[in-house]
Every structure is written in structure tokens, then in C-alpha cells.
Amino acid sequence: MQRPTWVPADVDLDRPSVARIYDYYLGGAHNFAVDRAVGEQAIRIVPELPDVLRANRAFLRRAVRFMMARGIRQFLDLGSGIPTVGNVHEVAHAVDPRATVVYVDHDAVAVAHSRSLLDSTATAAAVQADLTDPDLVLKHTEVEDLLDFDRPVGILLVAVLHFVPDAQDPGEVIRSYRRRMAPGSMLALSHGIHQDDDASRRMHALYSRSTCPLTARSKAQVEDLLDGFDVVEPGVVDVALWRNDEEAQHATRSLAVAAVGRRP
């Protein structure tokens, strides 16, 4: 649904926010009571959740370093959430301070927070937008200023596509981005996977109260999402295992998978 740009999005602090729940899982204090309440309940359903999300952050870090090693110097982090330690620009700047990053989230608070954090960083910016509308995302001034889509770009969809329901056709969303990506560009993706039915159902019910309902998918469905990309080794694997040669290897019971694909 397209809303006129002059009608602002609502800022409702009484509803749990996916971005702040995520922060809670990571041990942050960027969250409110409503967020913590949902986070606690989710952990009761799936006790491994904090581990899974830490593994996601670790995957994000490894994926950015991987892309940097392949020469990519500009990143679009879709669904970036609350900026905690180990952000994309921190990881990238450790290698090359000229690398540019744009964070995109639809959560007004997360974006405001990101902005305050990036105040003094000229090479990174945060925009508030719905990632499922690629045209609108890519038209943002910050995106146009910092990212050059004629050159390879790294797009990050980490732990966010399971908040895009089938009705919004995540496959088509990815295809839209892919069409805009120059050859040599890369896509890093991690995604929540179906658990046993009862847990899936309870998680779905839980998240339906938040700003984003949850849609877990199968590994095969995730592989389909990467259609049109050359998936790099080791393919679609447990998020904790993807090219992990430096950290303790705690598999996540395959609660989430991850992969990086290259735009041919």
C-alpha cells in the first residue's frame, strides 16, 4: 500500500518493535517494557533465540568482511534495526574508512537512533523506508548520494525477510533489487526457518502483535529467493556455520539459514 509521502508514519511506542526486541535479545538496553515482554515470551517458546540472533549478527559481520575482501565498498543494509555494536559501517570502516553504508528501516525510532549515532559519519546514513518498495528505497537522496548502483554494491537482508509476508512477494522484492544491481554485486541473506508446528504457530501469534508479523520459510523457499544469484560456497547453510573459521561454532539447530549470492 502506497501512502502519500506527505502523510507521516505513525510513531506508536505502545506496540512492540521488532528492532527493539532484537536489541533485547542481544543484551542491549535500547528497548521498552513492551519489547522485553514479547522478547521474554519468545525466549520461552524458543530458548535458543538469543543465540540465533547473535549468530545472525556474527553472520552479518562475516558477510560484510567477505564482500569487502571481494572489493565491494558500498552497502545497503535493509532492515537494519537498532544500531548496536558491530554495525556494518564499523566492520567496513575497520578495513576501508571510505566504504559507504546506508541503513534502511521502517521503524522511525530505529532510524532516529541510527541517525544520532551516524551524526558525525559522512560515509553512512540511515533512511526510513519500507524495504518492500525498492523504487521508493532507491529514490532516497541518501541512497542516491552514497551508493552508485552502476558499480557493485552489497545488499544485506539479515534476519528481516521473515517479516515480509508472502502477500508482499519477497521473491519479487529481491528480483527488483537484483535488476538494479550491477554485475559483481552481492546479496547477503539470513532467514528464520520453520520449526515444529506448535512453536511456529505460537511465534507467529506472538509476533502478530508486534509491528511485523513473522513468516518463517523452508530452506528450499530460501534457496528460491536467491534465484538469479550465483550462491557462493558453502551455499545455504545454518547461519552460525556460514564461513565461520574464527568463532566458536554453535550450530543453531538450523533455526536460521544464511547465504551470500553474487549477481552475475
Binding site: 506527505w6 502523510v7 507521516p8 508514519a9 505513525d10 510513531v11 511506542l13 527493539r20 542481544l26 543484551g27 542491549g28 538496553a29 535500547h30 528497548n31 521498552f32 538469543p50 543465540d51 547473535r54 549478527r57 559481520r61 537498532i82 548496536t84 555494536v85 558491530g86 564499523e90 522511525a108 525510532v109 530505529a110 532510524v111 532516529a112 537512533h113 541517525r115 544520532s116 549515532l117 574464527e246 568463532e247 566458536a248 554453535h250
Partner: protein
């Protein structure tokens, strides 16, 4: 010591693993813990003892994001083994260890509290910023909306679903001419023009409920405060709340009065005559078409077509402008004649006007209009100090709308000038009005005539015959029949009258009365007359006892005495044509018929009428031996003494005289005495007499008794082919009948 610290750091790292989310790699963690382990070791053995190191180490751990609650517990545990690692398990070192553990715990709590507060504060700031940004955006968008609303050129109102107006913009205030406070809070229908009122509101709601977007588009009149009427084109939308319940009605309107006036003006122009201001033919045709749209059995329609005579003369004699002024005055006079508002007076063009009379009670009211129109022009029109006599010829037609009679002369296209399509019946009504107007005009100026379908049918046939006549001659459609002329004294054959008939392919055998007049009008009479003359003379030449074919009189018997006459009718028109006399002589020469055997029948009116008397032609014919008979004698005004001056040999008594001789009446009636006197007088003048239309034996007997020379009529024989008359070939039936009469 270095080696023991390294082992300590590895143990510590293992203990912290999984307690917190950190971004450092395992190697980086060990590096950090080795450094921190070194500081703790130093603190245990260095004098003076500084417990603040515990605070600093805890702060470093929190900075590295070892923020999980288990992290401090495990750290305190791991640190407990440090004196043993250092080989310093004395009381002083134990004491220092406990103080370091305490400092670690309190420093940890302090740092974590700082971090939490910082993060909460930054989150609150972010939330505030987001909220302000959103509110700012909302205010901006509201301000923008306000600006659009207030400054829009289009009139906008927001109302509730009960029709009450909540807020309006300046354009609407300007449109209605009321101040804002006299509009807001009032109901929409208070401003709608009373003529449009409920209908427009109903229509609006009907459209909105039927439209998927809850939208309606209507045009309505509003009444301004100053009483002026303003036309507005409105788009009205229903605004629903989140539950789909209608809450507001937003109306946007545009003043289209000018467009509307222009439209109305163009409409009026298209339907009215610019000179007289009367409806024009287009409007008349539209109304006429309306009359014929789905009529009922009992519906009637009347039409007067008015043609003004004399306007053209004004145009010619004075100037066009004066002609126009007279026309306008005449139109005014015509308008004054109409009494029923439903009657429509229109100017069809030129000097022609029409009055459409819907639903007349009969022909009388329509005739009444025609009479009033005619009477209205009895007095001359006074224009610019001059008096102009203008006459009006009015054609009247009145009939049921569902007219059962087929349109005469129909089959043509029903498109009338201006391209307007009229139903055939309507076009026929106009034609009928035009025809009757022509009749009125032909009869006398300033009169009226009512359409008569029979009369029109006759005229149509007549004109169709006139058109076909020349071609019919060429196609040999004319035949000549002969009716015997009988010598009354002895019943012998005196001769025969040649009678031309038209064997018409559609109308059958037509009598001369149907087409001779037409032939005279069109000039075809000369060719027709010559053809009849040629056939009659050629035929008669074969009847003579010493006939041209050389046959002798065998078998002619006692019924024929001497030469047999052929009598041919010559019309007045032929008589005055210089070609007649040469024609006759040529035909006589060609047929070989002796001139004495040819009798030409002329009408009374031809010799005593108003036209030139063809005395010279008659004299030349008579001089050549041709006999001249006056046909239908007694019906005109000729007198016998005048006939004396003309070369006339015979009179043919009109049928009226013979009809007076009725069986059963006294032999000596007035009628018989008149006939006897006429015969006697004719004889005195040296003229012979033929009686026409003899139908009874009694009539034949009385005519013979008074000395009439010849008889002709059904009693003797009907007209028939030449063969029935030719004494050589004829059956004797007609003559036998005559003999019976003489018995």
C-alpha cells in the same frame, strides 16, 4: 608470570563464552582478557595496593559488551584462582583479592548501569526525535493541506453524513456569497436551488452508495445570498473511518454558470431564428418528432403552414432590411394569434411559418387558427411609417398521430432539409400541410385550405399521368375505339365516332376525360390528335362501299347507305395550332379517305369561348369538304344564330337533353318539345342533328319522331374495335337491336 597470565586469560575466556553478545573474535577476546588479567595480577602484587583496578577492568569488560549477568559472576569466580596462579596465597594477597573482587563487582554494576542508562537515554532521545519528526511531518502535511484547502480555486466543503456542513474554504464562501459562519453548521440543502433541492441530494446519495469509491458527480443550482443562481459541478465523496463507516462527506465544486449560460445560449441559438426570435425549424422538427414518439391511439396532431405573400416584393421594391422589418412585424402578428401555450409557432425559413398544434380536439380548432392567421393579415402592416399589404396562405392538416392512411407519394427519404430525421408519418404531416398551403395559395391569396387526402391522390395520379403521356404515345399505349352513329330514319349506319383510350399499364383503360386535359396542358395533344386522326382515317377508308382497298360492297346489305363517316374529336388547343389544317390534309391524302367522310367534332367552348376563335382554320377545312360538328351542344352559352356565321354542318345534342326523354312520361313533355324545337331550329339553319347517349328504345323512338337525324349511344352500340363497325366485317348484333326497336 606471563605464562600463568596467558593460561588465566584462556580460562577466563572459556568462562565468559556465551554469556554475552560481543563483536570481538575469540582471538581478540583472549587478547583483551590477557591484558586485563595482567592488570589484575599486577594489582595483587604491587604496592601500594590500588583496588580501583577492579573498577577499571569491569568497565573494560562492559565496554567490550560482556554485559550478560553471568559475565560478572564467572569473572569473580575465575579471578579467585589468580593468587594460586601467582603462587602468592598469603593473607595479604587473599585480602587484596577479596577487595579486587568487590571492586570488580561494584565497577561492573556501575558500568552496566551507566551503559543501560546511556542506551535508555539514547533510545528515549531517538523515540522523541522520531516522534517530533513525525509530528513535524504531520504538522507540515496539515499545514500543506490547510494551504491547499484554504487557497484552492475549487470550492470545498466537509460535512457530516447528515448533510450538515462542518467546514468550508474561501472559494466556497465566494461561490455562495455567504460568510463562513452562515454556511458552517448549516445544512447543504439550505443552499441548493429549490427547483433542484431534494432531487439533487437524492441523486448524490444514490450515486455515492452505488460507487465503489463512494463518489458522486452531480450538477446543481445553488442560490447565492444575493439571490443569483449559480450552477456548480460537484464531485462529492464519502470518507469512511477505519471500520468502513461513513463519517464525512467531502464536496468539491466548481462554478460552471458561465459554461452553463453559454450552453443554454448556444442551445437557444441552435433552436431559434435570429431575425424573429421564433423557434426555428430544428426546434419544430424536434417537437414534431416528440409528438410521434410513442403515441397513443387517441392522440391527434394539427399543423398550419403559413406562407406570407408580399414580403419578396418589399425586398425587391425597397431593400432587404425593410423586408426583414416587415417580416419581424408579421412574425409578431402571427405570435399574437396563438392562444394555447402548447401551440408552437416556428419560422421554417424565408416567408414560411408553421404552427404545430398538439392534441387538437378536432380539425375545427386548427382551422380556427388558420382563419385567425388569415384575418390577422387583412389589415396592412405598419412599418417605419409605411403600410405593407401582406397576405397569408395557410395550409391546414389535422389527423390522428397514428395515421392509418399510407402516406401519398411516400417512399421518398424522410430526411427533411437541415438533415433532421423525422419519422415518416411526421414528414408526411409536413408534406400534407405544404400541399394544402399550395391549394390555398392557388385558390386565392390570403385564404386557407384543409388537406384532403383524396384530392391529393387525384392530383398525384393526374400529374403522374401527365408525366407518362409522351412516353405512352411512343409505346403505343393509346387505342382508338369506334362508336357507331345510326341514321334514325332507317337504322342504317351513318358513321362512327373515333374515341381514344389509354391502355395504361397500371391504371387500366382510361377514358379521354382522364388525360385529354393533361395532353392539352403538356402540349402532347398535337401528337396524340394526329395519331388518332391517322388511325381513324385509315380505318374509315376501309369502310367505304368503294373503299380504298378496292373491295366492292358485297355483303354490306341494306344497313349501309352511301359513304360511311368517321367523326374525330379536335380539342380547342388543337384548333388554334397552325399545324392542324396541314395535318388534316396530309392524313386525308395519305389514307385516301374522301374529305366528305371526315367529320371533326369541336366543343362549344372552342368556338364561343374567351380565346381566339379559329374561324379561318374551320373555313379552310370546310372548304376542302371536311364536315364540322359542334359537340355537347346545349351545355355552353353558344347560340344558334352565332353558329350561322361559322362553317358548321352538324350539332351533337348533349346527353342531358336525351335523358329528359323518359319512358312512361307523356309523349309531349317540355323536354321533348325543347328537343323538337332545337332540331327544328337546326334544320332551319341547315344543320343536321345527332343525339348522344341514347340508351333506351323509347328515346330512340322519340328522337326519330321529332326529326332528329342521327343517334349514338349504348342503345345502338358501345364503343368497340374497328372491326365491329366495319360494315364488311361487323357482326350485326348492334344493328339487329336497333331493328327490334323499330318493330
Amino acid at each position: 608470570m606471563t605464562g600463568s597470565v596467558t593460561a588465566f586469560a584462556a580460562r577466563w575466556a572459556r568462562a565468559l563464552e556465551g554469556t554475552s553478545y560481543v563483536t570481538l573474535s575469540s582471538r581478540e577476546v583472549v587478547e583483551l582478557l590477557t591484558h586485563l588479567g595482567g592488570r589484575l595480577s599486577d594489582a595483587l602484587v604491587t604496592d601500594p595496593f590500588d583496588p580501583a583496578v577492579g573498577h577499571e577492568v569491569a568497565a573494560e569488560l562492559v565496554r567490550a559488551h560482556f554485559t550478560g549477568s553471568a559475565a560478572v559472576e564467572r569473572t569473580v569466580e575465575v579471578v579467585a584462582a589468580l593468587p594460586a596462579d601467582l603462587g602468592r596465597e598469603d593473607r595479604e594477597t587473599q585480602h587484596r583479592l577479596h577487595r579486587l573482587q568487590g571492586a570488580l563487582a561494584s565497577g561492573y554494576a556501575e558500568s552496566l548501569r551507566d551503559l543501560t542508562l546511556r542506551e535508555q537515554e539514547s533510545l528515549q532521545r531517538a523515540a522523541l526525535a522520531a516522534r517530533s519528526a513525525a509530528e513535524l511531518a504531520l504538522r507540515e502535511s496539515e499545514a500543506r493541506f490547510r494551504a491547499i484547502f484554504a487557497g484552492a480555486a475549487i470550492a470545498i466543503s466537509v460535512g457530516d453524513t447528515d448533510g450538515r456542513i462542518l467546514t468550508v474554504n474561501q472559494a466556497l464562501v465566494d461561490l455562495l456569497g455567504y460568510p463562513d459562519e452562515e454556511i458552517s453548521g448549516h445544512r447543504v440543502d439550505e443552499f441548493v436551488h429549490p427547483d433542484d433541492g431534494p432531487a439533487v441530494v437524492d441523486e448524490m446519495y444514490r450515486q455515492m452508495m452505488g460507487d465503489s469509491r463512494g463518489r458522486a458527480r452531480v450538477q446543481a443550482r445553488f442560490l447565492r445570498r444575493d439571490g443569483e443562481v449559480v450552477w456548480a459541478q460537484l464531485v462529492v465523496s464519502l470518507v469512511r473511518d477505519d471500520d468502513g463507516e461513513p463519517v464525512y462527506v467531502v464536496a468539491m465544486g466548481e462554478d460552471v454558470s458561465e459554461r452553463h449560460e453559454l450552453q443554454a445560449r448556444l442551445e437557444h441559438q441552435a433552436h431559434h431564428d435570429p431575425l424573429t426570435g421564433l423557434p426555428n425549424r430544428l426546434l419544430l422538427f424536434e417537437r414534431l418528432a416528440d409528438v410521434y414518439r410513442g403515441p397513443d391511439e387517441q392522440d391527434r396532431v394539427g399543423m398550419c403552414l403559413v406562407d406570407l405573400d408580399g414580403i419578396g416584393m418589399v425586398n425587391d421594391a425597397l431593400d432587404r432590411e425593410m423586408g426583414d422589418r416587415v417580416l419581424v412585424a408579421a412574425a409578431d402578428r402571427l405570435s399574437a394569434v396563438l392562444e394555447r401555450p402548447a401551440d408552437l409557432l416556428a419560422r421554417l425559413g424565408g416567408d414560411e411559418f408553421a404552427v404545430l398544434v398538439p392534441q387538437p380536439s378536432g380539425v375545427e380548432p386548427v382551422v380556427e387558427i388558420a382563419e385567425r392567421v388569415a384575418a390577422a393579415f387583412a389589415e396592412p402592416l405598419a412599418v417605419a411609417g409605411h403600410l405593407f399589404s401582406v397576405g397569408a396562405s395557410v395550409g391546414v392538416v389535422e389527423r390522428p398521430v397514428l395515421c392509418p392512411q399510407p402516406a401519398p407519394n411516400s417512399g421518398g427519404p424522410s430526411t427533411v432539409p437541415d438533415g433532421a430525421m423525422l419519422p415518416e408519418a411526421a414528414a408526411d404531416l409536413l408534406r400534407a400541410a405544404d400541399i394544402s398551403m399550395q391549394w390555398a395559395k392557388a385558390e386565392r391569396e390570403g385564404g386557407w385550405a384543409v388537406y384532403d387526402a383524396d384530392r391529393h391522390a387525384r392530383e398525384v395520379t393526374r400529374s403522374a399521368l401527365a408525366a407518362m403521356l409522351p412516353g405512352a404515345l411512343g409505346r403505343g399505349e393509346f387505342v382508338v375505339d369506334y362508336q357507331p352513329l345510326i341514321r334514325l330514319s332507317d337504322g342504317t349506319l351513318h358513321g362512327a365516332e373515333a374515341l381514344v383510350r389509354w391502355r395504361h399499364p397500371r391504371h387500366g383503360l382510361l377514358d379521354p376525360a382522364r388525360f385529354i386535359g393533361l395532353a392539352e396542358e403538356t402540349g402532347a395533344i398535337m401528337d396524340l390528335g394526329r395519331m388518332v386522326l391517322e388511325q381513324a382515317c385509315a380505318e374509315a377508308s376501309r369502310w367505304q362501299p368503294d373503299g380504298g382497298d378496292g373491295a366492292d360492297g358485297d355483303g354490306t346489305g341494306s344497313d349501309v347507305r352511301g359513304p360511311v363517316l368517321v367523326s374525330v374529336n379536335v380539342s380547342a388547343r388543337q384548333l388554334v395550332d397552325a399545324r392542324l389544317v396541314p395535318h388534316v390534309f396530309e392524313v386525308l391524302a395519305a389514307s385516301g379517305l374522301p374529305p366528305q367522310c371526315l367529320q371533326l367534332e369541336i366543343t362549344e367552348s372552342a368556338v364561343v369561348g374567351s380565346g381566339p376563335v379559329p374561324t379561318e382554320a374551320l373555313r379552310r377545312l370546310a372548304a376542302a369538304g371536311v364536315r364540322i360538328a359542334v359537340d355537347d351542344f346545349g351545355t355552353g352559352y353558344s347560340n344558334l344564330t352565332y353558329l350561322r356565321t361559322l362553317p358548321v354542318h352538324e350539332l351533337k345534342l348533349a346527353g342531358a337533353f336525351v335523358q329528359g326523354l323518359r319512358h312512361g312520361g307523356s309523349p309531349d313533355t317540355v323536354d321533348e318539345r325543347v328537343v323538337a324545337t332545337l332540331v327544328s331550329l337546326a334544320h332551319t339553319l341547315g344543320l343536321r342533328v345527332t343525339a348522344e347517349e341514347v340508351e333506351t328504345p323509347f328515346q330512340a323512338e322519340r328522337l326519330r319522331a321529332v326529326g332528329c337525324d342521327f343517334g349514338q349511344g349504348w342503345f345502338f352500340a358501345a364503343p368497340g374495335p374497328a372491326a365491329d363497325v366495319n360494315p364488311r366485317t361487323a357482326a350485326r348484333a348492334p344493328l339487329l337491336r336497333q331493328r327490334r326497336a323499330r318493330r
